[in-house]
């Protein structure tokens, strides 16, 4: 019966993740490890499965809104896929205690990033790679089409490799790093970077999830209720999001993240 409890918890995780723009992994991995005592590698593998479900399910609605830059996504997926492969290899040589400390550090970083002042600067000159591949595009805002250029693509691609490593090790979507790389380095408009990041997350997660799956680390006992719960939770979150005050929920969740981070670091050190 205890595995039944995972379903409502995963629904809540998917719901919170959807409202706050975080992947369910930020909730799922700490809950599975701290409260159910599951080995962190199994929790990471289950979390990656849920990321694929939410990203693949939501891609159509972002595309319909003309916010996703598909061409840019394909280029950047080279960085994230090879990063996720590196992350998978690194995680195999890391001890569970190190993974706990690493995850705790990531939670603190994510909590701090929620206070970040968000600028939305635009690139005046299109980077040569963007010119060659036709990556500059347009998106709708207030009833008008806004054209945008892309800057510093090599730095963006390198940052994506790093985001892929973190995703492969910790079982998270790394959306926060992907968006940072696109916003800060490449000057992608925030609406576009958010949609494009979500579009790419499924492919990034699949790179390491496939490896974890074939190695036998994806256990249906936990991956099944987590995947189903996250799909339902994310769908509910998207439905009620316009009616909720996300700012209040965000502040409350920062406290929860810091508590979970402290517990994970302490578990790693003990």
């Amino acid at each position: 019966m205890i595995s039944l409890a995972l379903l409502p918890i995963s629904i809540v995780a998917g719901f919170i993740g959807s409202i706050l723009g975080l992947g369910g992994g930020v909730v799922v991995v700490p809950v599975l490890t701290l409260y159910f005592g599951v080995e962190i590698r199994y929790a990471v593998a289950a979390s990656l499965i849920s990321i694929i479900a939410t990203s693949s399910g939501a891609a159509a609605s972002f595309l319909k809104d003309h916010l996703t830059n598909v061409r840019l996504a394909i280029l950047l997926e080279i960085g994230t896929v090879f990063g996720a492969m590196t992350g998978f290899l690194l995680s195999s040589s890391l001890k569970s205690s190190s993974l706990f400390i690493f995850f705790g550090g990531f939670l603190i970083f994510s909590a701090l990033m929620m206070f970040r002042q968000k600028n939305d600067p635009r690139a005046k000159i299109n980077h040569p790679w963007s010119e060659k591949l036709g990556l500059n595009s347009k998106f709708p805002e207030n009833g008008k089409w806004i054209h945008y250029n892309l800057a510093n693509i090599p730095l963006g691609l390198f940052s994506m490799y790093f985001a892929g490593i973190i995703s492969g090790i910790l079982g998270i979507g790394s959306g926060i790093f992907k968006m940072m790389a696109m916003d800060s380095a490449m000057k992608v408009p925030m609406k576009v970077s958010s949609a494009t990041s979500n579009f790419m997350i499924g492919v990034t997660a699949a790179a390491s999830a496939g490896a974890y799956f074939l190695r036998g680390d994806v256990k249906p006992e936990i991956a099944s209720p987590v995947a189903i719960g996250i799909i339902i939770g994310a769908w509910l979150g998207a439905k009620v999001m316009p009616k909720l005050n996300a700012k209040v929920i965000r502040k409350a969740f920062i406290i929860v993240m810091i508590i979970a981070a402290t517990q994970m670091i302490m578990k790693g050190l003990s």
Partner: protein
């Protein structure tokens, strides 16, 4: 360019359908094997290497079809992004966008290689 966006939307709708189908398969498998798992977390508290092939063999021998169905659903779900990359690459090839088709192929090969890493990985 407009055709590519239209086709990508079609691919994404197809993926959403894939998520629903795989979700239903995973749910059926989970419900079927639910009774068998009294407390599944006990055996998952420490890490033991037991490959997918070994797990499938064991579940076949024990006639634990719920688990086998769950694995099938999970496999379909994991394959969806790979299929998306494959279809996008085909789309670029058909549009004669050589550079984008090349980039899509690199991503696709990367994904296939990553799966092989799991077979080798211990």
């Amino acid at each position: 360019m407009k055709d590519i966006n239209k086709m990508e939307l079609l691919i994404s709708k197809f993926l959403r359908l894939g998520v629903i189908i795989s979700g239903l398969i995973i749910l059926s498998g989970w419900l079927m094997s639910f009774e068998a798992d009294k407390n599944p977390f006990i055996s998952l508290q420490s890490y033991q290497h037991f490959s997918l092939i070994n797990s499938l063999e064991m579940n076949f021998i024990l006639n634990n079809w719920g688990k086998v169905i769950s694995y099938l659903g999970l496999m379909i779900l994991i394959s969806l992004p790979v299929l998306r990359v494959f279809l996008s690459t085909i789309l670029f090839i058909r549009q004669k966008e050589k550079m984008m088709a090349f980039l899509g192929t690199v991503v696709f090969i990367g994904l296939i290689l990553s799966f092989f890493m799991g077979i080798e990985g211990k």
